[in-house]
């Protein structure tokens, strides 16, 4: 007898969850899509744009400098040189 009640309650809970999800999902999917699009918009992108500007006006990368120096070295073992 108790099992019948437990199963009935479980089924009811499941149905409630499914129905709630189905009812909620269109609105929440619209919301999350809106939020995603807003987060990709120009206002949100500002932090990255700032980063881009700092990066663009940056000091030369130590790696790049090394490569340049190496290319300029006259007695490099095997590097190419302008001829």
């Amino acid at each position: 007898m108790i099992w019948v009640i437990v199963v009935a309650v479980a089924v009811l809970a499941l149905v409630t969850v499914v129905v709630a999800r189905r009812n909620r999902s269109p609105q929440s999917s619209v919301d999350s899509f809106r939020r995603q699009i807003d987060a990709l918009g120009p206002a949100a992108r500002r932090t990255v744009v700032d980063q881009v500007q700092t990066a663009a006006g940056r000091e030369p990368d130590p790696d790049v400098r090394q490569a340049d120096e190496r290319r300029a070295e006259p007695d490099d073992e095997d590097g190419p040189r302008g001829a």
Partner: protein, 334 residues
């Protein structure tokens, strides 16, 4: 409390963006190991300097070379070291977003996220490189317009059309700037009979390599080992012969861009003519490449002003807006 991280785990270079701080690490994706014990001896710039110059017991490798994870164990150790170096420990567990080639297999995907979790990430998610590149290049991907981005890296070349925050068309090939280095190495060996290392080949590419004739071209003097005598030898290389040497690689990259254009819906194709395509990635810096793509596609090509950082900056943007953008993670598509 650790700050969340975005990682561009490139085949050539690894960059890390820390939430609220910006780029905190930028170095070659190279690891040097003791061949006998398997111990890590160096990573990054230090390991890069060892490539081709190590004694027999040391091996300096790029574990992600070819855009594929060839060695899971080494990749995991690299991710672990990377996280340690930016301050991640067992007690500070940040969220991590990692950019990977879009052609990555399911197994590779799992390997990268598992590695990051085991290395201390509270949560690890992946995002496709071209998507991150488009955000980092500041393209208006929130609008219903065709944004085309071409990312040419060391081991991969990916072209994507993005509109309304999603990938509409994608073409990815496991061919990149490393293949140009290899083509130069092979050419010099075949035509001049000398052996050169991969770093020298890369230097030749940067010094005189080009995908299309450009003004003010110069020759380069290259030293290597004569294959016949074994002695050091010098040869002069011209820009024309390097163009010839790398032609196959360049044309396969250009063909993949053309295939992506062909996949785009016609409504978006119109946009490219006006807006152009954006070129990012170190491989895109090859002289004459933008001009060559433009010539073959008749679509204007614009160079990003941060070609090497665009991908990590885009992933950094995702970390900054984590909750709103988590639907963009690989495998999270609605």
């Amino acid at each position: 409390m650790a700050r969340d991280l975005a990682i561009d785990l490139g085949t050539a270079n690894t960059l890390v963006y820390m939430k609220g701080r910006g780029i905190v690490l930028n170095e070659p994706s190279v690891i040097a190991l003791n061949r006998q014990t398997g111990e890590v001896l160096a990573t990054g710039r230090e390991a890069w300097q060892m490539i081709g110059r190590t004694p027999g017991y040391i091996v300096a490798v790029r574990p992600l070379r070819g855009g594929a994870i060839t060695d899971f164990e080494i990749t995991e150790r690299m991710i672990r070291l990377l996280l340690q170096r930016v301050g991640v420990s067992r007690f500070t567990r940040p969220k991590v977003v990692i950019c990977v080639p879009s052609a990555i297999t399911e197994v590779e995907r799992r390997a990268v996220t598992d590695a990051a979790r085991r290395a201390g990430a509270a949560d690890a998610n992946l995002i496709e490189q071209p998507m991150a590149a488009a955000i980092g290049a500041d393209l208006p991907i929130d609008e219903p317009v065709g944004n085309m981005v071409i990312d040419i890296g060391g081991g991969t070349s990916e072209t994507a059309v993005i509109s309304l925050g999603g990938i509409v068309a994608l073409e990815a090939v496991r061919v990149g700037s490393f293949d140009i280095d290899a083509a130069i190495q092979n050419y010099v060996r075949r035509e001049h009979g000398i052996a050169i290392g991969e770093r020298t080949a890369e230097e030749i590419k940067m010094a005189i390599g080009s995908a299309d004739p450009t003004p003010q071209e110069s020759q380069a003097e290259v030293r290597g080992r004569d294959l016949m005598t074994g002695l050091p030898k010098t040869v002069i290389l011209t820009p024309e012969e390097i163009r010839y040497a790398i032609e196959d690689v360049v044309s396969s990259i250009v063909s993949s861009v053309i295939r992506c254009l062909a996949k785009a819906p016609p409504e978006l194709s119109q946009d490219f003519l006006v807006r152009g395509m954006y070129l990012v990635g170190g491989g895109g810096l090859l002289r004459g490449l933008a001009q060559r793509i433009e010539r073959e596609t008749k679509v204007p090509v614009r160079m990003s002003n941060v070609p090497l950082e665009a991908v990590v900056l885009g992933a950094g943007h995702v970390i900054e807006h984590y909750d709103a953008l988590k639907g963009m993670f690989m495998g999270a598509r609605r």
